[in-house]
């Protein structure tokens, strides 16, 4: 009997690896093609390079995607590892484009700029004034794509394949449309919010007086909590500042919460996470005003701007023109590490995780008094599983470990103690420019190259909410270990024969 010509499905890790490579090729290739076309509006100097590189990547991506045979069963760990691989590869591809176009002269500068772009960390070593429109679009585009990827990680990939399954918004009870009934619908629904959000902020900036192209780039950086700017005096105008404050607040809000508000699932008062997020802004601004010496409306607006940039982890730069108390940088570091709402493009440990930790702390105290009591923790209206709570505790542990490890590395490479801690927190929270203790902004260009390179892993870990990156690292180590075992077995066999 003939065996037929059907192709065998690929193994889970092979298929997910191929998908991740293909996705990153398509994403960066698509961005490069668009940037090449945009560059035509300007001088068009980078157009040939961008179009050639972009189309090459797209073709390679499509060819690879077409070759993959869907595996029978995709393992969650493989998907998490593939997510990390996709992000890393995208960073490398963007860095290659920076080098090819001459936007960055050195590979480490290109890598740093690409990483801060994709991970939406607002630390830049390139001067946007000397870049053409195409490259500026690509630069903002990397942040926009990174923000979308962060949403996918937070709303789809982690709840479906990692931790916090109970928080995946998939329930159709009550006749409501959930945001994430399945993976593909979730992606579509997120895009339905993300794209209009970008357009809304674009219009806002345009109405505030920005030129259409600059407004678009700024909107892309705002909605993604990226924080790249086009010029040092980007936010000189008060109305632009107000649009940025609202945009940053929107970008740091949970897409799940926004979806619930849009489809009418619960009123504003029932969105505890959003209320806490708003409360953080208000409390942060009040404390900052208390600890500084400025007064007047300008001071209030600038303080709100700084707080919104910190809480949403956007990191748009804003100098503090007035007195700056010793507690102010500590407060901002705290706000940055708490971060935005879960299910947003913002970074940090995120508000839901902090709520869980606080409730866990209270439960632990209650358990000290009643050791045998069964005490559940409720989050977002649902009982959080013990496994999820465990994972949140470990996430906190890993977050601190990444911050500490990064601070140690950059300290070895020459930063002082407070700058090391601050840079590590900002990188892990993907929050952008580091502030010195007097409130002034630190230019990452003044750091040594090893310091900048040492910050990159923390940005990737932070952008992926740590777990996928750690799982990828563990998979890599396991792979290396299994290879080593194979060699050992081979050696043992050869040795046995010789004997």
């Amino acid at each position: 009997m003939a065996t037929g010509t059907t192709r065998r499905p690929w193994a889970s890790w092979t298929a997910t690896t191929a998908w991740s490579v293909s996705a990153s090729l398509l994403l960066v290739g698509g961005l490069a093609v668009l940037a090449g076309l945009v560059d035509l509006i300007d001088t068009g100097a980078d157009t040939p390079t961008l179009l050639t590189a972009g189309s090459g990547m797209c073709i390679a991506g499509v060819l690879l995607y077409a070759r993959v045979e869907r595996p029978d069963n995709t393992r969650p760990a493989d998907i998490l590892a593939a997510t990390t691989l996709a992000m890393t590869l995208a960073i490398l591809l963007v860095a290659a484009i920076y080098l090819l176009t001459g936007a960055a002269q050195r590979p480490d500068d290109a890598l740093f700029e690409a990483t801060t772009g994709i991970t939406t960390t607002a630390m830049s070593v390139l001067d946007p004034a000397i870049l053409g429109d195409g490259m500026r679009f690509l630069r903002a585009g990397t942040q926009w794509a990174g923000g979308f990827a962060a949403l996918l990680v937070g709303i789809v990939i982690l709840p479906f394949f990692g931790f916090g399954r109970e928080f995946a918004d998939r329930s159709r009870s009550g006749g409501y449309h959930p945001l994430a009934p399945d993976e593909w619908s979730a992606t579509r629904n997120i895009a339905k919010l993300y794209v209009p959000g970008t357009i809304l902020i674009w219009i806002g900036y345009a109405l505030a007086g920005k030129g259409p192209f600059d407004a678009l780039l700024l909107a892309m950086s705002t909605i993604s909590t990226g924080g790249f700017t086009n010029s040092p005096d980007e936010f000189a105008d008060a109305s632009v500042q107000w649009v940025a404050i609202l945009g940053m607040f929107l970008a740091g809000s949970s897409m799940v919460t926004l979806w619930h508000l849009i489809v009418g699932r619960g009123g504003l008062h029932r969105q505890t996470g959003l209320m806490l997020y708003l409360g953080m802004h208000i409390a942060g601004a009040l404390l900052l005003m208390l600890w500084s010496t400025g007064d007047g409306m300008d001071s209030v607006r600038q303080t709100l701007f700084v707080v919104a940039a910190s809480v949403s982890t956007t990191g748009f730069p804003m100098r503090i023109p007035h007195g700056w108390g010793a507690a102010a940088p500590v407060l901002l570091l705290l706000l940055v590490s708490i971060g935005a709402m879960s299910g947003s493009a913002g970074g940090g440990l995120q508000i839901r995780q902090h709520r869980a930790l606080m409730k866990l702390a209270v439960r632990e105290m209650a358990r000290q008094l009643h050791p045998r009591a069964v005490l559940k923790v409720r989050l977002a209206g649902r009982v959080a599983g013990e496994n999820t709570l465990r994972q949140i505790v470990v996430l906190q542990f890993l977050f601190v470990a990444v911050v500490f490890g990064t601070a140690f590395l950059v300290a070895i490479f020459g930063l002082d103690l407070s700058s090391s801690l601050s840079a590590a927190v900002h990188a892990t929270a993907t929050a952008g420019p580091v502030r010195a203790l007097d409130g002034s902004l630190v230019d990452p260009g003044t750091w040594s190259r090893p310091v900048r390179l040492a910050l990159l892993p923390a940005m990737i870990f932070g952008r992926l909410s740590i777990y996928p990156a750690v799982v990828a690292l563990a998979s890599l180590l396991n792979l290396l270990r299994s290879k080593t075992r194979l060699r050992r077995r081979y050696r043992a066999r050869v040795h046995g024969r010789n004997l």
Binding site: P76, A77, L80, G162, F163, W291, G325, A326, A327, P329, V330, L331, L333, L334, L357, M358, L360, A361, R363, E364, M365, R367, Q368, L369, H370, P371, N387, R390, Q391, V393, V394, Q396, F397, L398, V400, F404, A407, F408, A411, I412, L415, D416, L417, S418, S420, L421, S422, L437, Y467, V470, V471, A474, S475
Partner: protein
């Protein structure tokens, strides 16, 4: 026939009363030393009388009752608070912290800070260039050392040795005060267990005294430093701490003493009873030694990279790693900017020291910090969680050494870490809001919670806490020292019993 005197049933009051008597006895002994060659003898005798009076009253007019967990926390935390408050009397009456430019409230805050730092074995001090240790009489100095010695093993543990009436409740009291996860029984009766711990402690102190004498200290300094080495406290009778002697032999004795003090006393006791060392069979002790060795090597390499000679780097690194890793808090800096002054080191080695400020020594030791066992369990827990993501259906236990830990214990440790993290973050914010920079505030809070002693930046080994922190900030730090010494929960939950009593009183005012 005379009727028996009516006694109020309150374990908190009874335990506090006896604890005050012990402290008064220590004050009196110090007062005799002060009277012999100092100027504050009378003030210290008055302080001991003022401490003994409420102690005797409480001892005679109260009796211990049964204890639920909330009452245990109230009893232990209450005892520590009262003892720390009365412990400040000698400083106040002798005018130790009286300076021309500060008001009475700040003097009170300084006295309480020094007392809390003593009893909690933290070793942070408000003495400094403005108020030299060298200017103090021997009585005050030895009293300061004594507060650390009595606090090292635990005031309540001392009380339990003379209070057999507590029976099973003694275990709860010891557990609430003991560093780490619960207390080990060394003998069938709790009072016997407590006594055995004290025998080991006294023996260790005697051993360190002898070694310090042999290393060249005077008898007074040797006893004084043995008190604060066995207790991993860190107070010294000299302004430049151990740096005053600039002696390798003295530093070696102190380091070995601190290592012993930072190890589990159950291991010491078992080693003595079995006449062979059992320390290396204990997983936590092995991790403790590995951690300190690794940290010493890393810091040595980084200091050498920074231009320090190998011998100097190794000496400075080993001493400071051991003294901070065991929560000792001594300094071997001979002056600001010298090799041992770690706040002048590069940021890399300082970050290693910051990690050690968190870790502390072993459970069941006199040291502070999170404890090595909790850290290793935390790492094991993290590894298990990561493996569970890769293998969602696998049943994965958390291992510690060769054993498997029960899930409630793992959850308890995780809960502890969460509460600890929150206290560090909120404490840093509060201390910074009271006028301290980020690094000093963070170092001060971690150091206080872990009962470590010196902090970073402005509160380093050659500085006074007066230089780094305002008076309100120092008061916050003192509170954190007590919270840390009692392993967080007793202090945080000490008001539950009074609150319940108040609620009952409101509900049934006539009963």
């Amino acid at each position: 026939m005379s009727r028996p005197r009516p006694r109020w049933t309150t374990t908190t009051g009874h335990v506090t009363g006896i604890a005050l008597l012990f402290v008064a006895a220590g004050m009196f002994a110090s007062a005799i030393i002060e009277a012999a060659s100092g100027t504050d003898g009378q003030a210290m005798i008055l302080a001991s009388v003022l401490t003994a009076l409420p102690g005797v009253t409480l001892w005679l007019w109260t009796r211990p009752g049964s204890l639920d967990r909330a009452t245990v926390f109230t009893a232990v935390a209450g005892t520590w608070l009262v003892v720390s408050a009365f412990g400040a009397l000698p400083y106040l009456l002798a005018g130790t912290f009286q300076r021309g430019e500060i008001g009475p409230l700040e003097v009170l805050a300084d006295a309480i800070f020094e007392s809390v730092s003593g009893f909690s074995c933290t070793g942070s001090t408000v003495f400094g260039s403005h108020n030299l240790i060298a200017d103090q009489g021997p009585g005050i100095l030895i009293y300061r050392q004594f507060t650390q010695w009595i606090g090292g093993m635990g005031i309540v543990l001392l009380v339990v040795t003379v209070l057999p009436a507590l029976r099973a409740s003694g275990l709860g009291l010891i557990g609430a005060e003991a560093p780490g996860e619960g207390g080990d029984r060394l003998a069938p009766r709790m009072a016997q267990t407590a006594r055995r711990f004290w025998y080991v402690y006294v023996g260790l102190t005697a051993l360190i005294t002898t070694a310090l004498l042999a290393a060249g200290m005077t008898p007074f300094d040797a006893v004084a430093h043995a008190f604060t080495t066995a207790s991993t406290g860190g107070f010294s009778t000299r302004d430049s701490s151990i740096g005053y002697w600039d002696s390798v032999a003295v530093e070696m004795v102190i380091m070995i003493g601190l290592l012993m003090g930072g190890a589990n006393f159950t291991l010491h006791s078992r080693s003595i009873s079995s006449r062979r060392p059992v320390h290396m069979k204990d997983a936590e002790f092995r991790s403790y030694i590995w951690l300190l060795t690794g940290a010493t090597l890393v810091v040595t390499v980084l200091l050498m990279d920074d231009g320090m000679g190998m011998t100097r780097a190794l000496r400075s690194a080993a001493f400071n790693v051991v003294t901070l890793g065991t929560s000792g808090g001594f300094g071997n800096a001979t002056g600001p900017g010298s090799n041992g002054d770690f706040v002048r080191w590069a940021a890399g080695p300082q970050l290693v020291l910051l990690l050690l400020l968190v870790s502390g020594g072993c459970t069941g030791s006199t040291s502070g910090g999170v404890k090595v066992m909790r850290l290793t369990v935390g790492i094991s827990h993290a590894r298990r969680t990561l493996r569970s993501i890769r293998h969602p259906r696998a049943v994965l236990p958390v291992r510690h050494g060769s054993g498997t830990l029960a899930e409630p214990l793992v959850e308890r440790i995780a809960g502890f870490m969460v509460v600890y993290g929150m206290l560090v973050v909120s404490g840093t914010l509060v201390v910074a809001a009271l006028g301290t920079d980020l690094v000093t505030a963070l170092g001060g809070v971690i150091g206080s919670l872990g009962n470590m002693g010196p902090a970073l930046n402005k509160a380093g080994p050659t500085a006074s806490f007066v230089d780094g922190f305002t008076a309100p900030a120092r008061t916050v730090l003192a509170l954190l020292m007590l919270i840390g010494r009692l392993e967080l929960f007793p202090m945080l939950l000490m008001l539950v019993t009074p609150y319940r009593a108040l609620q009952d009183g409101v509900r049934s005012p006539h009963s």
